[in-house]
Amino acid sequence: MVVTVVVRSRSMDSSGEDLRDHIIELLPRLRRFARSLARNAQDADDLVQITAERALAHAAQLRPDHSVAGWLFGILRNAWIDEGRSRRRRGLLLEPEDLAERVADPAAGADQELLCLQSALSQLPEEQRLAVALVLVEGFSYKEAAAIMGIPVGTLTSRLGRAREALQSLLSETPGAPS
């Protein structure tokens, strides 16, 4: 009995370290994913930080058969949805002028193409935006993306289809659009 406990606690320690390594490895991708959801880089990195902290605090929920990446992206998705709700509750702030200022400030050397896509994405409903972020930005398969969002593949597909249709029309008059 004692032996069992010791062995289990050791394996949890080592998986805790593995988890940290996994998260560090995935930080660039988590940042990219967050950037396709949040309004600015700062907010995006806040989401990534919340994700890392929640993952470490709830490491026990990660089962061996889980994909660490899928689990982490799912945590980030939940954090983003929570954050959106609480932002709406607080009635805040900063959103409209945020993007407008960035677009209006050429001195920023900001990546206009990225801003343009972020602005188009921000006009999609939450769930469509997630579908685009997971499949088109992150390159998850439909099956993986559906699992992360906790929905059937058919639902994912139809959200993705509607999102693409909306994006095509939002982007059709902007420079860089495919002819």
């Binding site: 940290r20 998260i23 560090i24 930080l27 660039p28 991708r29 940042r31 990219r32 950037r35 396709s36 309004r39 600015n40 880089a41 700062q42 907010d43 990195d45 806040d46 990534v48 930080q49 919340i50 890392a52 902290e53 929640r54 470490l56 605090a57 954090a79 609480s86 805040l92 702030l93 900063l94 002028e97 945020d98 200022e101 960035r102 400030d105 001195a107 920023a108 990546d111 193409e113 990225l114 896509l117 685009v132 499949v135 088109l136 930005v137 390159g139 398969s141 439909y142 597909t157 139809s158 993705l160 289809g161 693409r164 249709e165 994006l167 095509q168 982007l171 860089g176 659009a177 495919p178």
Partner: protein, 246 residues
């Protein structure tokens, strides 16, 4: 044979099984419209992917690495919202230090920045919270060793952060007193922490006499960011001469 747009999209995303894929390709040979629609889906996918791919090339901020490596991950990380940090339920020191680097300013800045004037000492620029006007000038020019006791800005400590940039603490003693920490970036002084609470207001009055003049949030942020020791007068002056470039 006709296909729904979802099937053509799935073709573009390489999600079809082999028989359906073959059927789409056969239909493409006779109907150029199918190929055009698939190409459209692929172009959008490529455009989005390559735009966001650039994020992968950015250096990962130190605070994120720190959050992963910190020994005692704070439980309830979902509480990391600036307004909460200012409330009574303050985490114990180690967690506080670990997350201090992130306790920015979005909401605090919202309060300061969105004041009707819009020309205060702290402004929002390109999604960043930046020092502006008198405050920015003082951060660039004022040396802690030579500053007027009654000036609008009092500079506290200057130091190099772990990511190499120069950071300085400040107290602002105008109508809205506050204290904070700003770090020098290519586009100016980025405000990392601002505390406009009473302790900050008090600090601004007796900034250099008090034993612990800076608000805890600012002290904690210094502790989280600093690499080595604060700059002495000579190093501070040299850093100013280099325009605070690392």
């Amino acid at each position: 044979m006709t296909f729904t747009d979802d099937v053509l999209m799935a073709y573009a995303d390489d999600e079809l099984d082999t028989p359906t894929r073959a059927a789409v390709e056969a239909a493409m040979a006779t109907d150029p419209e199918i190929g055009r629609r698939i190409a459209q889906h692929q172009a959008l996918r490529g455009r989005i992917h390559s735009a966001f791919d650039k994020v992968l090339l950015e250096p990962v901020p130190a605070r994120l690495l720190q959050a992963v490596r910190s020994e005692a991950p704070p439980h309830g990380g979902n509480n990391i919202v600036p307004l909460r940090m200012r409330g009574a339920r303050r985490p114990a020191w180690p967690q506080w230090t670990a997350i201090a680097a992130s306790l920015i300013v979005g909401v605090i800045a919202g309060r300061l920045v969105l004041a009707p004037s819009g020309t205060g000492p702290i402004v929002m620029r390109t999604g960043q919270v930046m020092a502006s006007g008198t405050l920015a000038d003082a951060l660039s020019d004022q040396l802690a060793a030579h500053q007027a006791a009654a000036g609008p800005v009092s500079i506290g400590v200057s130091f190099r952060s772990k990511s190499g940039e120069y950071c300085r603490t400040f107290a602002w003693r105008q109508t809205s007193a506050m204290a904070g920490l700003a770090c020098r970036a290519a586009d100016g002084w980025r405000v990392r922490v601002v505390d406009g609470t009473q302790s900050a207001a008090a600090a601004s009055g007796s900034y250099r006499q008090a034993a612990s003049p800076m608000p805890p949030a600012v002290i904690a942020a210094v502790g989280a960011l600093i690499a080595g020791e604060p700059l002495d007068a000579q190093a501070e002056s040299a850093a100013r001469a280099r325009h605070w470039r690392p």
